[in-house]
């Protein structure tokens, strides 16, 4: 048996190391919203021959296209992020770009999103998240006949959500990574995954408490964690294998989505034994003290 619960301060330190920079970044510059939220246009093109970025920039100047950022993928592929532009303007822009190479341009992606839909998406995702949290809280509380388990599981879940959002705030600041619909999906999945592991551990604790009701909770937890640690790690490894494959080989469109899921998986696995369980223990200790008085 490993005395996991003797090192609670280590877990607090570890979580803080990840959470503090993330939360600081979230407060100071938030996340970088994609056009899914702000509205605007994205155009991704591939030309048949390499074109210098300076030529592209002069076309943008000539056509007076409100391009916010130009992202160069390789010598002949570009992504343009634009504010509110009309369909005709985009059409003119594409034609002008075609003139520079004198060959047809392959349009890989051309999205325009109105500003109303963006705020609606944010609102709806938040409602969905709230629903999921309430449903999970109720289910865990019901399954373990204990509101403390439910709340501890949800606190661990909030921890994981903050880790995912915090890291994407940092990614946004350093690499310009945007938060889009796919990210919202990853964030909602992280929530369910986080609780998945917590339940497996709580289930074990419940079983041992039934078997030896007089043993100190800390000991019960240590036994439960020691026995579930192997399975938690093995299981997370399998999911991490799948996601790493997606991150490395899945192509540009799903890369950051897979990264979000990957971070969610890692923090979800970590938070079950090292966030949810210590909280359950501390809570029980506080309650015990009260009763003794």
């Amino acid at each position: 048996m490993i005395r996991f619960m003797k090192y609670i301060w280590v877990y607090i330190l570890l979580s803080s190391l990840v959470l503090v920079p993330g939360i600081y970044s979230l407060i100071s510059h938030g996340v970088k919203p994609s056009i899914d939220f702000t509205g605007g246009s994205v155009l991704e093109i591939k030309m048949q021959v390499p074109v210098e970025e300076s030529i592209i920039q002069s076309v943008i100047q000539d056509q007076k296209i409100p391009v916010l950022t130009t992202q160069k993928l390789d010598t002949s592929s570009y992504i343009f992020h634009m504010g509110q532009v009309s369909e005709e303007q985009i059409g003119k822009f594409i034609k002008a770009l075609q003139v520079t190479t004198d060959k047809p341009i392959d349009i890989l992606r051309n999205d325009t999103i109105g500003p109303i839909l963006g705020s609606e998406l944010l609102y709806k995702s938040m409602v969905a998240a709230l629903f999921a949290v309430i449903a999970i809280l109720l289910y865990v509380a019901y399954a373990f006949k204990d509101i403390k388990s439910g709340v501890s599981a949800v606190i661990a879940l909030i921890h994981d959500v903050l880790v995912v959002f915090g890291s994407f705030s940092l990614f946004g600041y350093f690499f310009g990574v945007e938060v889009d619909t796919l990210f919202m999906t990853a964030f909602l999945t992280t929530m369910s995954f986080s609780v998945h592991d917590t339940i497996v551990i709580f289930d074990r604790i419940r079983e041992y408490r039934k078997r030896s009701p007089n043993a100190p909770l800390a000991d019960v937890i240590d036994i439960a964690l020691t026995e579930t640690m192997g399975r938690s790690l093995i299981n997370s490894f399998t999911i991490i294998f799948m996601l790493l494959a997606l991150v490395l080989m899945g192509g540009e469109t799903v890369r950051w989505f897979a990264v979000a899921l990957l971070i969610g998986t890692i923090t979800g696995t970590y938070s079950s034994p090292f966030v949810a369980t210590p909280i359950l223990l501390i809570w029980n200790r506080l309650e015990g003290k009260k009763k003794r008085r």
Partner: protein
């Protein structure tokens, strides 16, 4: 043991049937069985982000429509757009109406269409045709030719509703494209009366309150045939005739969202995701064998069965596969082996306590079940909320999110079956205990 053999037999037959339906060149059923005609294609449906194409979200301007009629107007607008798209000849379009609070929307998915200007012009235009005459004849006031506007003209009472059909044709003298129209019997009579009254006077034709042409009527037209000329290109004349045939939209619409994915990017995503999936799957399978030996191999066979069942379900239901959907599938493979990992680690614990392996195995299945059930239940709850089966307007209705939720849900439910029933049967049939 007899029972196990029977279950195993059923599973083998099931696997063979599934392999048939999961073949790359999708089979289709078209037979009559017990008097019921069954026709079904078993192809994998790809979403626009994988197949390439355009998705448009149109929002209807319902300001002038009484609130009781708004739902009906949205439905009929949807039908008009559906007809236009069908006349235009897009294969397998999807047109849905969606209400979100006080917003009335129509979502149009056009696979293979990447020319968005054309698509927007086709579905976004109201196409309200209106025949008008001058309120004060300029000839009478002798002020020469005045360009007809909405202000100086009045409707003669002929609109797009009086048309029977319209078609693209070419002027016999100039060769210019023009739109030929034919009136309904009632429209023919109205048109005859109007042309009789307006001989030697101009008759202006407006489309969506914009002047198209204003020819001078030379004689009474009684056969109900007419042409609309103007500076048409072949494309714009064809488009107008489609719109006239499909009818005008009952409400004006505007585009609030447009997403276009080129076919090359979509195909690229499919190849890369499949490759990533296969490699990840191989790693997981190898990892299971390293960890659990023969048991791991049996779990891998169950995982293969899992793949067969999910692919069949995608084709059967059918689930439209999107990029997040593939990610959901890949994620659920990772989760699918979790049940087996839980069971196997329980089994090892029981072995360590000195139980004979057969009893330890049955105990492992029994004890792991509770946590497998509880843990998967939360994932099922989340995927149902994300999928939003009630189509509630306060939850996400985005196709991407739903595609992900659908594959995650199917994955978790299938994994409960393969991880427990299939693995248990395989172990009872083939596993001969750990090496001593």
């Amino acid at each position: 043991m007899k029972q196990t053999k029977k279950t195993f037999g059923i599973l083998v037959v099931l696997a063979l049937v599934l392999v048939f339906f999961d073949l790359p060149q999708a089979p289709s059923i078209d037979t009559t069985l017990f008097g019921v005609h069954i026709k079904k294609d078993f192809t994998t449906r790809l979403g626009l982000d994988l197949a390439g194409g355009t998705q448009l979200t149109l929002e209807a301007d319902m300001e002038t429509i009484p609130s009781g009629d708004r739902k009906d107007s949205l439905e009929s607008a949807k039908q008009v757009i559906e007809r236009r798209v069908n006349f235009f000849g897009v294969s397998e379009p999807v047109i849905q109406s969606a209400m979100s609070g006080e917003n009335y929307r129509i979502i149009v998915e056009l696979p293979g269409v990447t020319n968005t200007d054309e698509a927007i012009a086709l579905v976004g235009q109201t196409a309200q045709l209106d025949f008008r005459e001058y309120t004060n004849d300029p000839l009478a006031t002798d002020s020469g030719f005045i360009i007809p506007t909405l202000e100086n003209t009045s409707a003669v009472g002929i609109t797009g509703r009086d048309l029977k059909k319209s078609l693209l044709q070419f002027n016999s003298q100039t060769g210019e494209p023009e739109v030929g129209i034919q009136f309904t019997p009632e429209g023919t009579k109205k048109f005859g009366d109007v042309t009789k009254r307006l001989i030697n006077k101009p008759l202006a034709i407006f489309l969506d309150n914009v002047l198209v042409t204003a020819p001078r009527v030379s004689s009474e037209i009684t056969d109900g045939q007419a042409v609309i000329t103007g500076s048409f290109t072949v494309d714009s004349a064809k488009q107008l005739s489609i719109q006239l045939n499909a009818g005008a939209l009952p409400v004006p619409v505007k585009i609030v969202e447009k997403r276009t994915i080129g076919a090359t990017l979509g195909a690229d995503s499919v190849t890369k995701s499949i490759r990533a999936g296969v490699i990840g799957l191989g790693l997981v399978a190898a990892f299971m064998i390293v960890q659990y030996g023969w048991l791991g191999l049996l779990a891998d066979i169950a995982l293969f069965m899992y793949g067969l069942i999910t692919l069949f379900l995608y084709r059967f239901i059918p689930v439209t596969l999107t990029l997040p959907g593939i990610a959901g599938f890949i994620l659920s493979i990772g989760m699918a082996v979790d049940s087996n990992i839980l069971i196997f680690s329980r089994y090892r614990e029981e072995l360590r306590r000195g139980k004979p392996w057969k009893i330890a195995m049955e105990l492992g299945f029994g004890k792991a079940w509770e946590s497998i059930r509880d843990a998967n239940f939360t994932t099922i709850i989340t995927s149902i909320i994300l999928f939003n089966p009630g189509n509630w307007s306060f939850l996400p209705t985005s196709g991407l999110v739903r595609g992900f939720a659908a594959t995650l849900f199917l994955g978790v439910v299938t994994s409960l079956f393969t991880g427990i029933v299939v693995t248990r049967t395989l172990i009872r049939m083939f596993y001969r205990g750990p090496k001593v």
